[in-house]
Homo-oligomer: 422 residues x 3
């Protein structure tokens, strides 16, 4: 579902030079706000204190390159926006090759990759090149041109709240501060937007309230929490941070420090039966779950990644060879199953004492025959009844039975219809 | 203990055609009621509502066979009562071989075995044959004769309560609804009767009350629970469902969904040190534990099987090659150790502060010598004292120490005698 | 730290004939009381009831040997005090070689080792020899001479309390009842004395109170508990029994029966990253933790050993080939790290909401570069913040992160200094 839309959106946004502030990020938010007009933009002025942090100046960049005395240009921003260190201050001067080399970042182990480097909070500048290209730089003097600006402005983010019968919220977060890289991080924002479209279309009368936020990583989530921590704490039933969800390799979950929240078991159960699943301790956190689960914030936000440690990470090779419609679609299904379960109801209970008389409802074989005995879906059905003890929720039952959430959900719907579970 | 009696009883009852109702079951109950006159019969009329179920009509059968136009008979009920599908309706008609074959059940993977098939709740009829015999059926017309009746009558069961000082009950259940098969299920009922004899003989002044029930599987336990759930819930300290306990192969426990009841640890500890023990999740439940542990019933009943999945299961090969006096005797010992422990008292506590002075009671070596240091029974003795912290019961201590319950019990008796534990 | 002092003390004390009472033990206590004058001697009269036990007569010995009719002496006490069974009664008589052999203990599997044997509570006598020497005893008559005395006297022990701001105590115990053996048990007492010197020198203003006790094993700790159980129960935050801590082989922890006390996680975390660590259940207890953790005493005392089961155990080969300054020093570090952590404070909490802005404090790289990403100490720093949730103490966080306590402590100090943690 929504594979095509997601990949089209991502490819459209790919060329923009996003950062934690600036025009690229603003355009990205505007794009999504057209897709889902329920988004509401929030703006926070440079210099605003947010907990221990301060919102930095707004950074914008027009052009940047290195020019050899012969006139030949290198590391051209207009060819690839990774060439410029994020938040580089404006500069226009001549320097020797020797001095220049100290300001060019490259990866010795991945000599054909351009790395992604930033320096948000320490005034600096620099360029990024592949190790191979860096080595080929001719001798001589160079002109350094960075047409950027660092001025008072705004940090911007957008949230979209879809109200349900209950004030209790299901929360999703992803970030929009990375320049031309696909998995990290256009995959998360496009998945968020597909989920919004899904919830609007299929759950017009919603059981729960849904909150989706798109923000710059770290400083954005800290800013958001500094404003909305109280309401999030009161209402959040389960939260999911979405990052690097566009490749086809692994399925990765980072647990909350508690490891037993509803969010933890929800994502865990939705990954049962997938190939290459890794369920990691909070030690291996990486993205905004760092803020949502920090000790004095303590929200039940688990993190969903496909490949968490991938070769192309933070380089120009994180592109649409890695991120595919199929990968995004598979990730959508993982979250869709969770949403479907929340909307069906996760707190299951038996209505009938003892095993129900399944045969009279045509829910069980009539003939007790040995070779039918292990029929699988029937087993899942009876197991779901047997473990619906009012203590375990649907996600926990799936986990205990080691049956994919989607199968459990199918049986649960059937058993509710037949007034066996409620 | 009681091996000989058990095997004699089982062989005597083997030929009867039992089902969930009817004369075979009634005779089986009467037989046990002579052995243990404390049993009290309970009768429930056909059509009575029991939770989600309804007690079916009583089924009785006199004869059944298939007769070829040449006069030759096949699948003769009088030769083996497994030949007839349980609860077959009466019939007397001619049909073609083609049509007949659709009503004959056999096992392709076990071509020499006659399977056991029932159709309690869907009016039907059928025969069971070995695949080999089915293949040899000659061409032509057949006469089908089933001299059975399905009429208003009674479902019957019997319970035996041996009162103790405490109202708290130790509960045992097995079932008497299977025709000529030995392990599943004559082994359970004969073990129940041996246990009754044991408790009456060796525990005339009982600490606990014991309740033993023999009933048809599923519908019988549901009926019993519909009448006695409240009192069982109030009083049951631990319960054990006994099924397929006559072979010599494995020892199998199915835990309750909670996995930590007194019953769970009791059976677990009594199986320590046996060969081929399997302790299974409630996912692998099979018999009346399905009812006793269902969410709204929620009784602490663990299930004890020897081999749970055996080749001969639900076929005519489940006979006295599989079930032996030795097998039954071994199963008796497993439960005997549990009963002995309950009667000795399971809530152990230290009387003395610090380690007791064992030597003055001659309970410890006098000489502290290196090569005596690891002497085993002494280790168990000291460990039992060390872990009797008032939180762990005897079964849990045995589990933690990984020492067979019988050895722990022996030490416990000694230490009580010497006023070290109470 | 203190390696040299410890090994000198141990070697000085090695020749003395210690037992659970008597002059050797008294001299040993006096020696330590000179090193740490805060020790206070306690004396308990023979015949005093202590819980289930009674303080035995005081045993002193001057000389003992076996003399062949030719005049040749064997098993001479003056050459090695292990030759005499501890608490041997006085004797002076002639016996046949046959009878004598029954009173000589040796080890068939370790034929060149003299074993250590005692008979505290059963009046007896005996000699210990190597199996090899025992075999070489010439035929003929023997004179048996044991110049010992068993008279009313005292059991003596010494405790040292260093008061801190809090009444809460950190407790250490070791024992001084073994004759000429080095690991078991001079290593524990010398470590105790080094720890006292360390606490006095480096923590003049202490957060916690420290209690150190040196006593005869079993009867000594029982006596001490019979007098001080109440105050220990009220105040003990964590306790450590120190035994066999002088070799260089393993690191062994015996958990309390609870396994989750502060003491348990303290020692566990301080052993992370060491080679050959074994964390054992209370089933494998061996020394005075048997008393401290007995059910009605129930103090949080974990036991620290280096090699718990070593070849030289309870023989004359337990000497200074086994026990080294290096081994003692390593053991000191293990406990030092625990003390340092207690004094720094173990109940850590975040001060700042969300992740702190580390860069402005120069606690984090400024440049976000891919190849710096996994830098280890930074990881530990951020993990310590992330897991300081007010529920886990420092020891538990170290355990969860699987990072040695010393590294965690270093980061903790830094983060407190920067007002990130408290």
């Amino acid at each position: 579902m929504f594979e095509k839309e997601m990949i089209i959106w991502a490819k459209h946004l790919y060329p923009l030079c996003r950062s934690i502030t600036g025009k690229g990020t603003r355009k990205t938010l505007s794009f999504f706000e057209k897709i889902n007009p329920e988004f509401k933009r929030k703006k926070y002025r440079s210099g605003t204190k947010v907990f221990d942090w301060e919102i930095p100046n707004e950074w914008n960049i027009e052009d940047a390159y290195i020019q050899h005395s012969t006139g030949k240009k290198f590391a051209e921003f207009k060819k690839n926006n990774l060439h410029i260190v994020g938040y580089s201050e404006p500069i226009n001067k001549y320097i020797s090759k020797e001095k220049l080399l100290k300001k060019i970042y490259s990866l010795k182990n991945q000599p054909s990759f351009i790395p992604y480097v930033t320096s948000y909070y320490n005034k600096d500048w620099g360029f990024c090149m592949s190790e191979n290209d860096k080595k080929k730089l001719p001798r001589g003097k160079y002109k350094i041109v960075i047409k950027s600006s660092l001025k008072k402005g705004f940090l911007e983010l957008s949230d979209c709240i879809l109200k349900g019968k209950s004030k209790k919220e299901i929360f999703f977060s992803s970030y929009i501060c990375h320049p031309s890289m696909a998995n990290n991080e256009l995959s998360g924002p496009v998945l968020v937007n597909a989920l919004i479209k899904y919830v609007k279309k299929f759950y017009k009368k919603r059981r729960y309230t849904y909150r989706f936020v798109l923000l710059p990583e770290t400083i954005g989530s800290i800013t958001y929490l500094s404003r909305f921590h109280k309401v999030l704490k009161q209402n959040m039933l389960a939260g999911f941070n979405l990052s690097c969800v566009g490749d086809e390799k692994n399925y990765t979950q980072v647990f909350t420090p508690n490891e037993k929240t509803i969010a933890d078991s929800a994502l865990y159960s939705s990954l049962i039966g997938k190939k290459n699943v890794r369920n990691l301790s909070f030690k291996y956190r990486g993205s905004d779950e760092r803020q949502y689960c920090s000790p004095l914030i303590n929200l039940p936000v688990t993190a969903f990644y496909r490949s968490k440690y991938f070769n192309e990470y933070h380089t120009n090779k994180d592109d649409f060879k890695l991120v595919t419609a199929k990968g995004l679609g598979e990730s959508f299904e993982v979250i869709k199953n969770i949403i479907d379960t929340f909307e069906e109801g996760i707190f299951t209970k038996n209505i009938i004492k003892c095993e129900p008389f399944m045969s009279k409802r045509k829910l069980y074989r009539n003939l007790s025959k040995k070779d039918l005995y292990d029929e699988k879906s029937q087993n899942t059905r009876m197991n779901l009844i047997a473990f619906s003890d009012g203590k375990r929720n649907i996600f926990e039952i799936a986990k205990e039975l080691n049956v994919p959430l989607s199968k459990i959900l199918k049986e649960y719907k059937l058993l509710k219809k037949f007034k066996i579970l409620k």
